[in-house]
């Protein structure tokens, strides 16, 4: 509603300015045939170009001031909260956002889901984010190092790695050791992305040498290749296995060789809506927020 008012006042101011311009042009051309009139008024425009541009500048800046005043006093709850979140959070955070909007009827949450590293790059390049939720601590550290964090990041959820296998586990995979079998088509994330680093660490912990057929660019690509039956197994998060339902099965990796992925969240330093951002971060940490996260397979920090 506030936004509507704002557009209205903007447009009325604009049309007022245009009318004034039109009036001044009419005054300049009296009783001249239309063709010549256009030419003359063009010349007039050129002669008066400088003066008019100054007048226009004044008008525009005045307009901006008025609009700024009338629209800026709207209060924080009416502005959207822009949340940049890791792709693995997409399902859980979408539900979390809906619950947040139920809790705060005036609030609106917009999400941008992508790989954590892409999101960091976007924020550093000036994308207007209020909240950043990362799938690993190192990408969050990149943002902190760049001076783009307003608060100290807090870990709000953890995730475990799991072996994803075809539905019904057709290859009978029981653990990480089985993945060393060269007859199996194993895919994992590339070492450049967090799930790839975790996979390498798990293989090292288990003392097995696995030769994957492909280093995928993200965890979803690993899941897709297994659900399509093109790959026999892959290392993904337990939340990803849960998300695809019956299309794939998961084989748990014992805690002693597993890795715990930590998901930190923070309000960005250039947050256009820092009040809303803090409210959202608090909601993620609340009991309701944690319940939603655990229903998607995330574990408490």
């Amino acid at each position: 509603m506030k936004a509507g008012q704002c557009v209205l006042c903007c447009s009325s101011l604009l049309s007022f300015g245009l009318n004034r311009l039109r009036l001044s042009k009419n005054a300049a051309s009296v009783h001249i045939p239309s063709r010549r009139r256009r030419r003359i008024s063009l010349r007039l425009t050129i002669v008066r170009g400088v003066r008019r541009s100054i007048r226009l500048q004044v008008a525009v800046s005045a307009l901006a001031a008025v609009v700024g005043v009338s629209c800026g006093s709207g209060g924080t709850d009416s502005k959207a909260i822009t949340v940049f979140a890791a792709a693995s959070l997409s399902a859980a955070f979408t539900e979390l956002g809906d619950a947040f909007e139920m809790e705060y009827p005036n609030a609106e949450v917009d999400f941008n889901f992508a790989s954590s590293s892409s999101l960091v790059a976007q924020i550093i390049e000036g994308a207007p984010a209020d909240v950043f939720a990362s799938a690993d601590t190192s990408n969050m550290a990149k943002l902190t190092d760049a001076g783009n964090n307003a608060s100290t990041p807090t870990v709000f959820a953890t995730n475990r790695a799991e072996i994803v296998v075809g539905a019904g586990n057709p290859m009978g995979i029981t653990g990480v050791e089985d993945l060393a079998n060269d007859d199996l088509i194993v895919v994992q994330c590339a070492p450049e992305v967090p799930c790839g680093r975790y996979a390498a660490q798990i293989f090292a912990n288990a003392g097995v040498t696995v030769t994957p057929k492909s280093f995928e660019e993200n965890v979803n690509a690993v899941v897709t290749k297994v659900t399509l039956g093109e790959a026999d197994a892959g290392i993904v998060y337990r939340t990803d296995v849960l998300a695809v339902g019956t299309a794939a099965d998961g084989v748990e990796i014992p805690t002693d060789i597993n890795v715990i992925a930590e998901y930190p969240i923070a309000v960005t330093s250039d947050a256009p809506n820092s009040d809303g951002a803090e409210a959202f971060v608090a909601f993620v940490g609340s009991e309701q927020g944690q319940d939603i996260l655990s229903s998607y397979g995330f574990l408490e920090p």
Partner: protein, 277 residues
Amino acid sequence: MTRQRRRRGRAALPLPVLALASVAVVFFALPLVGLVWRAPWSNAWQYLGDDDVLTALRLSMICSLWATGLSIVFGVPLAWLLARVEFPGRNVVRALCTLSMVLPPVVGGVALFFALGRRGIVGQYLDQWFDVTLPFTTAGVVVAQTFVAMPFLVITVEASLRQLDTRFEDASRTLGASRWYTFRRVTLPAIRPALAAGAVLAWARALGEFGATITFAGNFPGTTQTMPLAVYLSLETNPEEAIVLALLLMAISFAVLVGLRDRWFGRPDRAMSTVAA
């Protein structure tokens, strides 16, 4: 005479066209300038000398040339069929053969799985009978690149075939040349500029192909990791390296496009005169 006409054409260029064209040039040049501006020139050689980079570059070149070759071998006959042969459902076939241009490449990769993957319509028999699996192999990269690149050649060549005056071919036939001889010695030389343009388009598309490749062929250094994949993944950890690699890929493409422009494309009027002679 040709030269005179050209000069007059240049002088008569309408201003709005010139202005809009300039905007287009800036639009294309500006992102490139941005890359050059952000590139870490002091570290550039260090990134370029990396073995993985050279491997990816070599693989990119080999695969994209194979894809271009396959596009020519299968694409020119397809273009000829679409341009010259009237058959029911021709429009449907044409749309079908150019659909991969508009398909999101990742979806294209998944579609290739359904067709040629281990569980695919044809792929399962390739696997069972011949022990051939395309996913996660270099051949898979070529297949993915050909899938997205060939339409560019087909469309270009088909347009040229439609414009070609069939009387040249008719004359050749009345003089006793066989159909195959006419196709080789009359039709092909006449469409040479379009064929070259289409081949370059297809090659450029194959060289830059990312989505279908990483989906269908995966990403493994030395077998399926082409330059765009290497660039994308280095963007995750080392954006500086990614910029240098992207610039390298662009520089090579640029050199090839500029270098081949005059040699291959020729001028349509000259191509026609050789046919006439």
